[in-house]
Structures are given as C-alpha cells and as structure tokens.
C-alpha cells in the first residue's frame, strides 16, 4: 500500500503495510537515522518527533495514522544551521553518549513552543518521559532554561 508522508518539508511515498510504526519508516525506509529506537513501547522517548508541531513517540504511531507534517531532528536544524534549542545543547555541553538526545531535543522544542518560559516543575512534567542512561538531566534543564531566555530575547 502506498502512503504519502510529508517529512521535513518534503513528500515521501512509501509502500509498506499500514501498521509499520513511523519510527521504522523514518529509519529504515527514508534513511533519517537521527530518530532513535530505544524501547519500542513509548517508555524512553528516544524516538520523539513532531507531527504538526506536537511531540509524539514515533514508535507508537502507525504509518496509516500519521495525521500531519512530520518534523525530525534533521528538520529542526543542521550542524551548520542549528535551531536555538540545539545551540543551547552545545553551549551547555549536554550530550554524553548522545543516543537519547535527538528525542530530548524534540521534546524540549515542543515544550518551548507551548511554554516559552517553563518553570522547573514544567520541565519535569514535560521531560520525564525521556530517559537518559548517562544522566545528563542537569545540563538538559540548564539548556532548556537558556534556550527559553534566548528565544524570548530574539
């Protein structure tokens, strides 16, 4: 079955069963490997992408249920042209192994879109579904606050 997907501003036609999760369409079919597989059961957040700006776990969204434009970490910014949130990640030297960070950044970007100046409690609430086994949380928190400030000044 052929499905049209809008991903990072481009249209992709994929020919796969309806129930293949978006995660695997992105990674194994479209070749966008920035979105990571961590658990397959929406317990770690490594696969977080945006659909029409909303953060979703792409391992839980079947291909046929994708309801809008998909944005992945590759669509948020590139190493040469990073989004403000990504710049904050570099400024605060957040990543260790880095595997979960695409998901962390996508979740944080959606938080900041809804809540431009989040409190610590709001950060706790929004980010608690994103697991990091390296324990980078203190720097994630600092980077979110810093990005919020820069985005408001801009």
């Amino acid at each position: 079955m052929s499905t049209d997907l809008r991903i990072n501003g481009k249209t992709h036609q994929v020919d796969l069963p309806d129930d293949v999760p978006l995660l695997w369409v992105l990674r194994d079919e479209v070749g966008l490997t920035g979105t990571k597989f961590g658990c397959g059961v929406a317990a770690c957040g490594a696969c977080t992408v945006h659909i029409d700006g909303e953060a979703v776990r792409s391992c839980q969204v079947a291909l046929s249920d994708v309801w809008g434009e998909v944005t992945t970490i590759e669509g948020l910014g590139t190493p040469d042209a990073m989004a403000a949130i990504q710049q904050a990640w570099v400024e605060h030297q957040v990543a260790q192994c880095g595997y979960c960070q695409s998901g962390q950044i996508m979740q944080a970007a959606s938080l900041l879109a809804e809540t431009p100046a989040p409190s610590d409690a709001e950060i706790d609430e929004a980010m608690q579904g994103n697991l990091c086994r390296c324990g980078t949380y203190p720097r994630i928190r600092a980077a979110i606050h810093s990005a919020a400030q820069k985005m408001q000044e801009a």
Binding site: L16, P17, V20, P21, L23, W24, V25, R27, D28, E29, G31, L32, T33, G34, T35, K36, F37, G38, C39, G40, V41, A43, C44, A46, T72, I73, E74, G77, T78, P79, M82, Q86, W89, V90, Q93, V94, A95, Q96, C97, G98, Y99, C100, Q101, S102, I105, D124, E125, M127, Q128, N130, L131, R133, C134, G135, T136, Y137, P138, R139, I140, R141
Partner: protein
Amino acid sequence: MASIAKIARRTFLIGSAAIVGGVAFGAYYVSRPAPNPLQPGEGEAALNPFVLIDQNGVTLFAPRAEMGQGVKTSWAALIAEELDVELDQVRVLHGPAAAAYYNSAFIADGLPGRGYDSGNFKHAIGEMLGHLGKTLNLHGTGGSTSMKDGYKRMRLAGATARETLKQAAANRLGVERGQLTTAAGTVTAPDGTKLSYSDLALEAAKLDPIETELRPKSDWRLIGKSQPRLDMAAKASGTAEFGVDIRLPGMKFASLRMNPRQGGGMKGFDASAADTMPGVEQVVNMGAGVAVVARNTWLAMQALDAIEVDWEDAPYPPETDQVFAKIAEAFDDGPNSVLRDDGDADTLPEGATELAADYQVPYLAHATMEPMNATALLQDGRLTVWCGNQMPTYTQMKCAEEAGLESDQVDIRTTYLGGGFGRRVEFDYAVLATRLAKQMPGTPVQLTWSREEDMRHDMYRPGALARMRGAVKNGQAVLLDGKVAAASPVAQAMKRLADLPAAGPDKVHVEGFFNPPYAIPNFRMAGHLSDIQIPVGFWRSVGNSFNAFFVESFIDEMAHAAGTDPLEFRLDMARREWAPAAGVLEAVKEMSGWSGKTADGTGRGVAMCYSFGTPVAEVIEVTEEDGSIRISNAWIACDVGQAIDPSIIRAQMFGGMAYGLSAACFGEITFADGAAEQGNFPDYDAMRMHTMPNTQVQVLENQAHLGGVGEPGTPPAAPALANALFDLTGKRARRLPLMHDFDLMI
C-alpha cells in the same frame, strides 16, 4: 590491513583525503614498534598511529570508544597540546582495530596492592608492565583507563611529531630547529616565514623522529581547561553515527530471538507462520535461537514474535531464590582471596561492641540506550563489521573465528557507542551479525536486538551477598571483617575471550571491599567466588558497584553503633590512612553544610569509595514530599590528581552517580523459569528528569597520580542514598533495589 585512505573513504570522510607524509614517531615504541595500522596506499604515507597530516590538514586518531565519556575530545587534546594544533582545526577519527592502539593502563590496575598506596616506584612498574598490553593486543576501552593510558603517551606523540615537522622546516629554511616556533598547525621562522604542517609533512616523513621533553604544566593551553566536545554538534543534530545508524547500499535488516535461558540451546522451531509475513526474506537458524532477515527491522521483529521455539533449560537454577542460595554456597568454600588482613580480626578487642549484618544486591542489566546491534558484510573472503564496541581487537578475533577467517581479513569499524557501561566490552552482537552475514555473502546485514532481547541477553552485574561483622570502641572502628560472594566477571570473560581459566586472587571481585582507604586496626576482607553460570560481565565500576554498598552501608551502621557522626567517623579513619580520601570527605562536608543534624522530613547520607585511582565522596539528601520520598540534593567531590577536562569530569561524576542511583532505586534482574523477568524500561526504570537530584560537583587535584573518571562516580551513590534513607526513616536498607522497602518518588 586497509590503507588509511581506504578506511577514511569507506567509513568516515567525504571525498578522498590523500594522506601524505610518513614518519614513525617514537611515542608508541616500547622495545619495538607495533605495526602502524595506518598503512599507506599508493601515493600516500602514514605518520605515526596517532597523527596523520595531509594537504587538507591534521587528522588525529583517538582509538578509544566514545561512549559518552568525552574521550574523543580529551584524547585529541592531549596530542594537540604538544603538537600545537587547535582542536577546531583537526579531524579526529577512531581508526581500525590495531595492536598499536593497545591500552597501557589495563594491566597496571591489576597489580597487587590497594591502589592508593602506590609510590612512584610501584607506579613506574605499573607503567612498564602496561606495555605488555601491546603484546597482548589489548586495544580497548574500559576500567576508567583512557587518560591514565594516554596522558604521557599522547603528549609524547604530539611533541615528537611537532619537533620532526620543525626539523623539516629547519632543513628547508637553513636555520636551526631551536629558532623555530609553532602554533595552530604552522611553523614560524625568525624572519616571519610561515610553513604549514601540511606543507612540511612529506619532508618530515623522511626524517628520523625527534624525541623531546614534555612541556611543563605552566605552559599548557588545553589540558586542565574545559574544551568544547568534538562530538557535541553531531549529537545535538542527530548526525552522530551510531552502530544502528549504518546504512549501506543493498543492506538488509534483521532481528533475532535467542534462548532467554542464557547458555541453553534450542531444541527446534516452527517458522511456518513467519515465513509468509510481509517483508520477510529469510529465517535463519542461529544455533541457540533464530533470526529473521526482512525489509525493515520492525517487520523482522514482528515475524520473530510469530515463531514458535522450543528452548532447552538454563545451565543455572531457574528461580531467583535458588540462584542466591547457590551463590551463598560459595561462603562454605575457602576464600578465593583475602587481600586485606591487618591485625587480628578473629579476636574481639576488649571492651568493644560487636555488630553484624548481611546484605544482598541483585543482578543488573547494563541497559544502554542503544540496544545491541552490529552490521556485517562478508564479501570476497573479507569480513567487515560495523558496531560500537569497547574492544576492537578482540571483536576482530572473535568475528574472524566465526567467519573462518584470519584476523587480518576482518575490518572492525567502530562507531559512536549509544552507551557502553561495560556491555560493549563483549562481542556477542558482532559474532551473531557475522553468523548471519555468512548466510548471505555479498549482502550487508544489520542485526538489531529488541529492547527485550537486549535486557534478557546481557552479561549482568553479578548478584552478590555480603556477611559483615564489625566492632566499635570509644567512638571508633576497631574491627571490620567482611566476606563477599558472587560470580566472577573476570573468570567468565577469560573463558569467553580465550577459553582460559582464571587463576589467583580475583582482585576485581573484591575491589572496593579490601581497599577502602580507612585505617582500622583489625581489618580482614575475603572474597568468595561462585561458579553459577548466569552470564556476568563488567558493569560500570564492576566489583566496586556492590562492594561500596556493602562496606559503606556497614560503616554507617558502625558509626551509629559507635555514637559518632557518620561523616566524622569516616573522616577520622581516612585521615589516618590516606589524605586525599579525607580531602574528598571534607569537601562534601563543606559543600553540603553537613552539620550532623537534619530538619524533620529530611535525611542525609554520606559514602566514599576509592576506585580506578580516584576517591569520590557523595552526600545525598532525601525529603518527604506528599507521602513519597524525593532524592532532592547531591554533593560530589572527587580527587583526580590532574583534571584533564573539568567539564567532562563533572559530567562523568553526576552521570556516574545517576547510573548508581538508577540501579539503587529501581534496578534488578530476577529470574523465573530460567529467564530474566524484566524486559523493558517499564520493568527496569532509571533516574528521570523529575527524580534526578540537584547536584554540585567539586573536582580536586591533590593526589599524586592521575585517577580515572568514567566509573568512580557510581559506587558511592547506592550507599549514600541508603544511608540518607536510614537518617530519614530509621530503617536500614540491607538489600537493593530500594523501591521494595521505601516509597520512592517515581
């Protein structure tokens, strides 16, 4: 061995960066050089194994697994410091599996002794013995060794390359080498003439390497200062390539299901339902399991679920209670080691108060965020394996064995590791990908574990038991007598790697048990080994991960029995044994404003452990909040001797603590019917944004030797938390995880 240009073109670089200039710089010599793995192709010449210069600039090789600990940046900084290049000017690659990339610090840590008591003589012997690593082909990352290994060797590699480039410039310009200066990849002559390293590389290649003295610390530009991590932009933009991100033309995706009763075989399987599922291309018998090759990974995983398999039994007792009963049997046999036996631990000092307690900790999974995976291609009698791994030369050897090839017919391409924590010391994932590639020569195949497969097929942190006995008198410890029993990761790894039996005292089993830097007049610590066959391996901080919990919990019990403040109790013992250990305790005392008193609804605990050359003290504060307990604050102090990169060290300390807290609160692998009962993060949770404490880290530089940083943050976490919970609730935690006995916030 592939030429560097081929390796570079195939794996890392865009375009064809021709490598020119070649000189074997002296830094990696011991008695004779290990072969330079960067062998030149036509029109190319290689420099030493760590420094390559071509027309486009300087490439440094950091052949240590980048698993989050920042080694790519720190290793490159050591070379760049003396080479006089800037980190943002150079390209840093991991390089191939090679004996030249041996780890000289692996063996030094195995020497007898408590570690902290090493004088300069013993330290030098350790450095010398370490070069056996080259002979043993020990190219690997682990044991918090990278900086100990590279600290001198990599500065020498940079310095020798610099002086040889200067000599090339001196020859060309007709001036003395001593008149030339270097900076930012350029040699400058007294008359202002500037020559780039790229321009000089070919001439330098023809010269004998020039050895020189290392610069004094006062001249350092990079070491000791936090550097922007070289992997940060890639990791913030989803462009860092992990093993699971390898994409090759024509590549197939696969997943597998192996016997969850680890070590048991497979009686048979029925794949008739899976064969016809969408996207399925091949079902492969993997020996003790099955693999499905499909159009994408998810379709392979779906098909695996439809396969009926008849598994053999496990070669160990099938239920958790039986497992621990079996481990306890090790106490009935004589000890494998008694590496501390001071005074007379059999006799209770007159007038002393005796106490005793038993402790138990569970098996633990590594649970790296990136599940195990490897990609393999067997073609024209050569095997190529792409994966994140901590031991490239052993991975190469084991994959060669599986493929029926020689090691030099196997290329190992080490990617970024989505977490290591000791799990990627093993090579099972690479061998299984090789097994699959054998079935489909000419076609690259990526084999990815599901999370459940990853968690149920680990070489776990061993479950362990301790029997502790102590005595206090006049507010001080006068006797500590401990026994620990567990299976040995070293013994099992020796068997897995080389089919060799382990011999002699197993120091790793008792690290953190026999060598706490405390003065106690009657002090005896014995290690008992269990031969239970549940696979065990190296889990961040290894023996220290359970021994620090046993020792530091019991020391806390002794402090309370002695009526002495737990921090002062430790400080007194540490001051009399080793000043740097007292130093980290004093630091957390000051940072946390430790007064020995806490407000109602608040508890505080302290623990200290010396591991991998670094003493680390942690104070943890817990608070009651809406009926559950929050870990609210943590203070960490470490003494690393010389801080190479303070920002990276701080990150390793709070990250190591988080890893320890995750296990202490929630981590356990239990067994039913021979299989691990936990399969995914809902059963095996960890610290998250809302449960991670506010944390402050202080990095001290008082001790004489360079200490490791990747693991030492982990061991004090569990006992510091357990001690804080005792302070809050009056209930002593003698087993982990704590979620069973305390109402922790989740």
